[in-house]
């Protein structure tokens, strides 16, 4: 009778709503403060931070498809590039404000995702991967060839989003986008839909038998992931100020894929967490061993292979097994939030 409902204080409620653990929030705060701390307040380090955050956001959105419904969207960067080009063309030709252009990029990418999904997601996963890949190649070919629209390989100049020389505002905008993407993805996984996604990803036949229509759920997942990619593409266009078809290349997708899988498939946060140290390590190797170009990518590929074979759960699983269950109550709260502690 006197079962007291554990009182959850508003802070924990908010955290739970945002799908962050206290540690997650703490690391986000570190990321927010980082551009003001001395070694990181140099311009080139801020640029590294931005590219890491960009890969991290892409990895979250990519993992939403790859980790949950187990379909590798192999043309992901091309879809992102489509969003970027849409946004850029709307801004340059029609004078649309970039803020709306970025959203429009997301919409166009979502439409392409819908087309690819409708065609292939009724088939096995590998078809979706291949078709997305071919769509990506075709898009890259179009972007190279339609010089009147995209200026081809010479690159299309785009006005930047903010009128300052500094990159700091872009960094904060990107952090906001990243957190928004994370929260959207996490919210979706908490609904009925998310459960359906996981069921499909683990065993499609079983999911179908229990009355889940796999095509509907897979397509909606794919479309959402593509839309997020398109928005990121819009940001890319208005951050770099120049768009070349190269950004749609398969190797860029491979980069995102590697980060997402090394981070831990299906965890969403794993890719984002691993992206920052990872991109920094890669950039360090690239800049310090510049006489051996390609070495960083070689290590990249080796790491991907090793993780795929010997530790398919990636960093997220490693973290969950070895760090997530401390005896200390304080630490437990820090790592798992209020819900698990009570």
């Amino acid at each position: 009778m006197d079962k007291t409902i554990p009182t959850v204080n508003p802070f924990d409620k908010l955290l739970n709503l945002m799908c962050f653990t206290p540690l997650g929030l703490l690391s986000l705060l570190v990321l927010v403060v980082l551009p003001m701390v001395p070694p990181f307040n140099q311009e080139y380090l801020i640029r590294w931070l931005i590219s890491a955050a960009f890969i991290a956001s892409l990895a979250i959105a990519f993992d939403f498809t790859a980790g949950l419904i187990n379909i590798v969207n192999f043309g992901y960067c091309a879809i992102m590039g489509l969003g970027g080009y849409t946004s850029a063309i709307l801004a340059e030709r029609f004078g649309l404000t970039p803020w709306l252009g970025i959203l429009a990029g997301g919409v166009v990418a979502a439409l392409l995702g819908l087309a690819i999904g409708m065609i292939t997601l009724r088939l096995r996963g590998i078809f979706a991967a291949c078709l997305a890949w071919f769509f990506g190649l075709a898009l890259m070919g179009l972007a190279t060839k339609m010089v009147w629209l995209t200026r081809g390989p010479m690159g299309m100049r785009v006005d930047r989003l903010f009128e300052t020389q500094s990159n700091v505002p872009y960094y904060y905008l990107l952090l906001i986008i990243m957190v928004a993407i994370y929260i959207i993805c996490k919210w979706v996984t908490r609904t009925r839909m998310g459960v359906a996604f996981k069921a499909i990803g683990q065993n499609m036949e079983a999911a179908r038998t229990s009355g889940i229509n796999p095509v509907f759920y897979r397509v909606s997942n794919f479309v959402l992931s593509c839309a997020l990619g398109g928005v990121l593409g819009g940001f890319y266009a208005h951050y770099y100020g120049i768009l070349t078809p190269d950004m749609m290349h398969t190797s860029k997708t491979v980069e995102v894929l590697a980060v997402a899988y090394i981070g831990g498939r299906g965890s969403l946060w794993g890719g984002a967490a691993i992206a920052f140290p990872f991109i920094f390590a890669m950039e360090l190797i690239r800049s310090s061993l510049s006489n051996l170009p390609g070495l960083n990518l070689l290590l990249y590929g080796l790491l991907l292979i090793l993780v795929m074979i010997y530790y398919p759960g990636g960093f997220a699983e490693f973290f969950d097994t070895y760090f997530r269950k401390p005896k200390n109550k304080m630490m437990n709260y820090l790592l798992n939030g209020e819900r698990a502690a009570t």
Binding site: V72, L137, I309, Y310
Partner: protein, 346 residues
């Protein structure tokens, strides 16, 4: 009696012509001939030469898909290994030929080169099977297709960048394998290299077909591709077959690479284009259908040549992609269909 047999053959031929495969093959031939009349013989010659070599790469890809259930993304890298080995073997041979023009190596040197590339390609296949795929196979078999696909992505990144780190990113090419006057067919000059490359492809395809159809090992490979468990039950050593298949398909890609070194100089990402082509072919022909891949290779080659001819270069990814999309909408099992169920089921 003879009449009856003849009639049955005609009936079957007629039925085949009405099937999708028949229509596609006939349409390919007709379109190729029309284009030849329109633009001259070189369209046909280009199609045949490109198609022959694409067939080799695509056959290997179809084989890995069918037998090992691996959607190989790194297949182009075995092509790259072929070009690399051919370059390093053929350069000293060609220096020797320059000083000894009467030597027997003038004719046999290039063939030795290609055989060397084949052997190294096969070894590379064995190494990647032992080091990469068999550990994964031991550890997990669920979601095998997707996991192995990602593994091949990693493998491709590693091989491309290993080439760049150890051999440099510059173009390593040769001018020609066989010197001498070009051959003239239908008012088109075909360099000897191209002609011999085509003959080589034809010989390899024929040998391979013979091997798959008439030898015990070939039959065992096909049995594994149709039903792995069934093959195990009748006493086929699965491990050996998987190893053999992998090395065979990699050797095929390496032969193609070595045979085309005069067209594609060796550089880190040289394998990407053959890889794309091979994937187009494999999806067009039906995943895992090895003999369909040969026909499909000529179709894709024709499509590519025509695209370059009539629309312009650079569009040659757009048009095949559009075709693939149409195929996937209306007939996802490919033009020639596929007996291989494994790829679709797992």
């Amino acid at each position: 009696m003879v009449e009856q047999v003849e009639k049955r053959i005609w009936e079957r031929l007629f039925k085949w012509c009405k099937s999708l495969a028949g229509i596609a093959v006939i349409a390919t031939v007709v379109i190729a001939l029309l284009a030849t009349f329109d633009r001259g013989g070189y369209v046909l010659v280009n199609t045949v030469v490109t198609g022959g070599m694409t067939a080799l790469v695509a056959m290997g890809l179809a084989l890995t898909l069918g037998v090992l259930n691996i959607p190989m993304f790194a297949h182009g890298e075995y092509f790259m290994i072929g070009t690399l080995v051919a370059y390093y073997v053929f350069t000293p041979i060609s220096n020797y030929i320059n000083t000894h023009p009467e030597s027997i190596l003038v004719f046999w040197g290039p063939l030795i080169t290609i055989v060397a590339a084949m052997i190294v390609g096969a070894l590379a296949g064995v190494v990647s099977e032992v080091l990469v795929f068999s550990p994964l196979r031991k550890r997990s078999r669920e979601n095998w297709v997707m996991n192995s696909f990602l593994l091949t992505v990693g493998l491709s990144v590693v091989m491309i960048n290993a080439h760049q780190v150890f051999f440099g990113a510059d173009f390593k090419g040769i001018t020609r394998y066989w010197a001498g006057m070009p051959i003239t067919v239908m008012d088109v000059f075909i360099s000897r290299d191209r002609a011999i490359a085509f003959v080589l492809a034809a010989v390899v395809v024929a040998t391979f077909w013979f091997f798959m159809t008439y030898t015990r090992t070939g039959r065992a490979i096909r049995a594994v591709s149709q039903d792995e468990t069934g093959a195990l039950m009748v006493g086929i050593g699965l491990k050996g077959i998987l190893l053999l298949t992998m090395s065979l398909s990699c050797a095929l890609a390496a032969i193609a690479g070595a045979g085309l070194l005069f067209m594609y100089p060796s550089y880190p990402s040289v394998g990407l284009e053959p890889l794309y082509m091979a994937w187009f072919v494999v999806i067009l022909a039906g995943l895992g259908n090895v003999l369909g891949a040969v026909m499909g290779a000529f179709m894709v080659a024709l499509l590519k040549v025509l695209t370059i001819e009539y629309i312009g270069s650079g569009w040659d990814f757009v048009v095949p992609s559009a075709l693939i999309i149409v195929i996937l909408i209306f007939k996802p099992s490919g033009i020639f269909g596929s007996e291989v169920r494994g790829v679709l089921d797992k």
